[in-house]
C-alpha cells in the first residue's frame, strides 16, 4: 500500500531509519527530563535527611501498591512486544490488535493504580503543602503518569490500525507500531528506576 508522505526521503528503508533515529533522539531528550527530576529528588532528600527534616513523623511509608503498578506496566511492555513480534511473523490483524488491546487495558489499569496511590496518600496526611517529602513523591510519579497519559492517544490509534491489519512482516509497513513500542518500553524502564529511587527515598 503506498504511503502518502511529506518526507523528502524517497527511499523507504532510509525513511524508516530516519524516523527511528528521530524517535531515539526524542527519548534521549525525555530521558534528560526524568534524569534531572530524579537528581532533584536525590539532592533534596540527601540535604533534608542531613538536616533530619525529610520525613514528617506521621507520614506514611512507601506505598506497596506501587508494586502492583510495576507489575501492570511491565506486563504492558510484554504484551506490546507480543504485538510487535506477532506483526513481524505476519499474524492476522486480530492477533496484533488483540495484543494491543490488552496493552491498552494494562496501561489504563496502571493509571488507575496511580490515582489510587495518590488518593490513599492524600487521605493519610501526606497532603501537598505539608512537606517536600510529599511534593517530591507527587512530582516524580506525576511527571511519569503525565507522559503515560500523553502516550494514550497514539496508543489508541496504533491499536485501531493493528485491528485493521495495517502492520505486516515488512518493517516499512509498521513504523507507527515501532514508535509506539519504543515509547512504551522507555516509559517502562523509567518507571523501574523511579520505583527503586522512591523505595530508597521514602525510607526515614
Amino acid at each position: 500500500m503506498p504511503v502518502v508522505t511529506d518526507s523528502p526521503i524517497s527511499d523507504q528503508r532510509t525513511r524508516l531509519d530516519a524516523g527511528r533515529l528521530g524517535m531515539l533522539l526524542f527519548l534521549l531528550s525525555l530521558g534528560m527530563v526524568f534524569g534531572a527530576t530524579i537528581i532533584a529528588y536525590v539532592v533534596v532528600r540527601l540535604q533534608l535527611v542531613a538536616e533530619n527534616n525529610w520525613k514528617p513523623d506521621d507520614s506514611p511509608d512507601f506505598p506497596w501498591l506501587l508494586l502492583l503498578s510495576t507489575v501492570l506496566l511491565l506486563s504492558s511492555s510484554a504484551t506490546m512486544h507480543a504485538a510487535v513480534s506477532s506483526a513481524r511473523r505476519g499474524r492476522p490483524g486480530r492477533t496484533v490488535g488483540g495484543w494491543m488491546s490488552v496493552t491498552c487495558v494494562l496501561v489504563l489499569a496502571f493509571l488507575v493504580s496511580q490515582v489510587v496511590v495518590w488518593t490513599d496518600l492524600a487521605l493519610s496526611n501526606l497532603v501537598f503543602d505539608e512537606s517536600l517529602y510529599a511534593w517530591m513523591f507527587y512530582i516524580l510519579t506525576g511527571l511519569h503518569a503525565l507522559h503515560v497519559l500523553f502516550g494514550l492517544p497514539p496508543l489508541a490509534l496504533t491499536t485501531r490500525s493493528a485491528w485493521r491489519g495495517r502492520y505486516g512482516p515488512d518493517p516499512v509497513s509498521r513504523p507507527g507500531l515501532w514508535h509506539c513500542s519504543a515509547y512504551w518500553h522507555f516509559l517502562d524502564g523509567v518507571w523501574v528506576v523511579l520505583f527503586l529511587v522512591l523505595a530508597w527515598g521514602t525510607r526515614g
Binding site: 530516519a18 528521530g22 533522539l25 531528550s29 534528560m32 503543602d129 517536600l132
Partner: protein
C-alpha cells in the same frame, strides 16, 4: 595556494543589474497567499519566517537595551523609575537570549541553508519543522502576553527566590513561554541531527561536510540534551510559585542553589548553542571570501564536537560565589580553562586560512574578521572569569556584562549578521548595496567596542551589574558606553534600511556571488521550490581552484572541466 580569477576592481557581483524577472521557478513565488506561508512545509519559507521573527525580536530587544543604556547615561534617575528599569534589563536579556540569539542561526539560517547544503529537498521531518516554528510563535506570543500582564523583573535567569517571590504578573506567562520555546529548540535540533545523518548526498562523507553543518550538528546535540533540563526547571519554578512547594526555598527545607545548578546545566550549554553555529558560519565565510581551502578542516570539525562535550561540564563556573564547595569550584575552574583549547584551535585555523588567501573584503567577510577580533577578546576575558580567585572580585560586575556581550553579541550575533549578509542574495535573489554594507559594519563594530570595552573598565573598578544608580566616578564610563550604543544603533538602523531597500531595488543576485563551492551556490538565487532536480554529487566543498569569475553571469561559476578529478574518490577526504 589557490589562485583564482577575480573580478576587476570595482566590479562586484550582480553589478550592473541583470534585467528580467529572475528565475521563474523559485520558492518565494511557488504559491501565493499568507496561508501558503504559515502552513508551508518548505524549509526555506520556514527559515524566512523564523528570520522575520528573529529580526523583529532583535529590534524590540535592541530598543529595550537603548532604554537601559539611556537610563544609565547619568547617575540617579534619568527618565524611568527603578522598577521599570529592572523590568527593561530583564526584558532585554530574555528577548535577546530566548527569542533572538538561540533561534537566530540554527532556526533561521540553518533551516534555510542546511538542506540546500546537503543537496536535499527538505529537512528529514518537514511537518515537525513547521510544528517547531508554530511552537516558537506561541512561545513568543506568551512573552508578549507576559509584557501585557505587567512584565517581569527577575533577570533573564529567573533566579530563585526573586522569581518565586516577585509580584509582577508576567512571570508565569514568560516561564511558560520559554518552556514552549524550549520544545521548539529541541525539535529543531532533533530534525537537524536526523537530516545530517540520513540525507547527505552521494560523495559527502562526514569529513566532506561544510563546517557550518558540523557546527549545526554539534549545536543540535546540545539542544536535545540540555534543553529538557530547562523545561523541568521552569516547570518546578512555576509549581513553586503557584503552590509554595519549597523545593527552592531554604526556609522550607529546599535549596535555592539547586535552581542555579539546574538553570546553568542548561544555560551554560545554551551559551554554546549560541556561539557554535556562529563559529560554523565564520569557518565557511573565511574560506569562501578568501577563496582558499579551509586550514585544518578536521581540527575545526572535531573542536565543535569537543566544545559541545565540554559545555556540559562547566556550568558551575557561574556559581563560584554561590556557596559551592571549594573542591567543586576548583574542578569547574579547571574544566572551564580547557574550553579555551578547542576555541583557540578554531581561531588559529581561521587565521591560517586567511594567510596568503585572496581576500575579498565583502560585507560578510568584514563581519567574519570582526568576529575573530571580538571573539578573541570575549574568549580571553572568559579565562579571567574562569579563574577562581579573579572571579571572586569580578563576579556580578560589569566585567561579566562586557565579557558575555563580547561573546553573545560580538561573536554569536555578529556571526549571524555576517551569515545573513552571506546568504541574503541566495535567500531573496537580490544584492544589497555593498558600500552601505561596509559602512554599516564599521558603525556596528566601532559602536560595539565603545559600548562594551568601556564596561570592562567599569567592572574591573567595581561597578556592579544591574544597578540602577551608581557613584559619580563611574559616570564618564557610563556616558561613553551609552554613546557607543547609539553608534551601534545607527549602524543596525542603516543595515535594516539597505537590506529592506535591496528587496525592492537591489541588483539581481547571480547564483554564486561570492565564489562559494558548497551546494547552496549551485542552485539559482533564490532557489527553486525543490532545491535540486536531481540529487547532486559533491566533492571537496573547500576546493576553490575550480571556481572562476564569469563576466556574463556577473558572478562566479564552477568550471566543470576542472571539477572531475576533485570530486572523484570516496575516501574521507582529509
Amino acid at each position: 595556494m589557490t589562485t583564482i580569477d577575480t573580478p576587476r576592481a570595482g566590479d562586484i557581483a550582480g553589478n550592473p543589474p541583470v534585467g528580467g524577472t529572475g528565475p521563474v521557478d523559485n520558492y518565494l513565488t511557488w504559491t501565493k497567499g499568507a496561508l501558503s506561508w504559515i502552513f508551508t512545509l518548505d524549509h526555506k519559507r520556514i527559515g524566512v519566517m523564523y528570520l522575520t521573527g528573529v529580526l523583529v525580536s532583535f529590534l524590540v530587544g535592541g530598543l529595550f537595551a537603548l532604554i537601559v543604556r539611556t537610563e544609565l547615561i547619568a547617575p540617579g534617575k534619568t527618565f524611568i523609575e527603578p522598577e521599570t528599569y529592572n523590568m527593561f534589563f530583564t526584558l532585554h536579556g530574555a528577548v535577546m537570549v530566548f527569542l533572538v540569539i538561540i533561534p537566530s542561526i540554527p532556526a533561521s539560517l540553518g533551516n534555510f541553508v542546511l538542506p540546500v547544503m546537503l543537496g536535499a529537498k527538505d529537512v528529514a521531518f518537514p511537518r515537525l519543522n513547521l510544528f517547531s516554528f508554530h511552537l516558537w510563535m506561541i512561545g513568543a506570543l506568551f512573552t508578549v502576553l507576559a509584557l501585557l500582564l505587567g512584565g517581569f523583573d527577575t533577570g533573564w535567569t529567573f533566579y530563585t527566590p526573586y522569581s518565586t517571590k516577585t509580584d509582577m504578573g508576567g512571570v508565569v506567562p514568560v516561564l511558560f513561554g520559554v518552556f514552549i520555546l524550549g520544545f521548539s529548540s529541541i525539535f529543531t535540533g532533533l530534525n537537524f541531527i536526523v537530516t545530517v545523518h540520513k540525507m547527505r548526498p552521494p560523495g559527502m562523507t562526514w569529513f566532506r561536510m561544510p563546517l557550518f553543518l558540523w557546527a549545526i550538528y554539534a549545536t543540535a546535540l546540545i539542544q536535545i540534551l540540555a534543553t529538557p533540563v530547562l523545561a523541568i526547571t521552569l516547570m518546578l519554578v512555576g509549581l513553586e510559585r503557584a503552590f509554595q512547594i519549597g523545593i527552592f526555598d531554604a526556609a522550607m527545607g529546599g535549596d535555592p542553589v539547586l535552581f542555579q545548578h539546574f538553570f546553568w546545566f542548561y544555560s551554560h550549554p545554551a551559551v554554546y548553542i549560541m556561539i557554535l553555529p556562529a563559529m560554523g558560519i565564520i569557518s565557511d565565510l573565511i574560506a569562501v571570501h578568501s577563496h582558499r581551502h579551509i586550514f585544518g578542516y578536521s581540527f575545526i570539525a572535531y573542536s565543535s564536537v569537543a566544545i559541545a562535550i565540554f559545555s556540559f561540564l562547566v556550568w558551575g563556573h557561574h556559581m563560584f560565589t554561590s556557596g559551592q564547595s571549594a573542591l567543586l569550584n576548583t574542578i569547574f575552574s579547571a574544566i572551564t580553562f580547557s574550553v579555551a583549547v578547542p576555541s583557540a584551535i578554531k581561531v588559529f585555523n581561521w587565521l591560517a586560512t586567511l594567510y596568503k588567501g585572496s581576500i575579498a573584503l565583502n560585507t560578510p567577510m568584514l563581519y567574519a574578521l570582526g568576529f575573530i577580533f571580538l571573539f578573541t577578546i570575549g574568549g580571553l576575558t572568559g579565562i579571567y572569569l574562569g579563574t577562581l580567585n579573579v572571579d571572586v572580585h569580578l563576579h556580578d560586575t560589569y566585567f561579566v556584562v562586557a565579557h558575555f556581550h563580547y561573546v553573545m553579541m560580538g561573536s554569536a550575533l555578529i556571526g549571524f549578521i555576517g551569515g545573513l549578509h552571506h546568504w541574503w542574495p541566495k535567500m531573496f535573489g537580490r544584492m544589497y548595496n555593498e558600500t552601505a554594507g561596509r559602512i554599516g559594519f564599521v558603525l556596528v563594530f566601532i559602536g560595539f567596542n565603545v559600548t562594551f570595552f568601556t564596561q570592562f573598565m567599569l567592572g574591573s573598578q567595581g561597578m556592579p551589574r544591574r544597578y540602577y544608580d551608581y557613584k559619580p566616578e563611574f559616570e564618564i564610563y557610563h556616558l561613553i558606553s551609552t554613546i557607543g550604543s547609539y553608534i551601534m544603533a545607527a549602524g543596525f538602523f542603516l543595515t535594516a534600511i539597505y537590506l529592506l531597500h535591496s528587496l525592492f531595488r537591489g541588483a539581481r543576485a547571480p547564483a554564486n556571488p561570492w565564489g562559494g563551492r558548497s551546494l547552496e551556490w549551485q542552485c539559482t538565487s533564490p532557489p527553486p521550490h525543490d532545491n535540486f532536480k536531481v540529487t547532486p554529487s559533491v566533492g571537496d566543498c573547500y576546493d576553490f581552484s575550480v571556481v572562476r569569475w564569469s563576466e556574463e553571469e556577473h558572478g562566479y561559476v564552477i568550471d566543470r572541466s576542472k571539477e572531475t578529478d576533485s570530486s572523484s574518490g570516496e575516501g574521507s577526504g582529509h
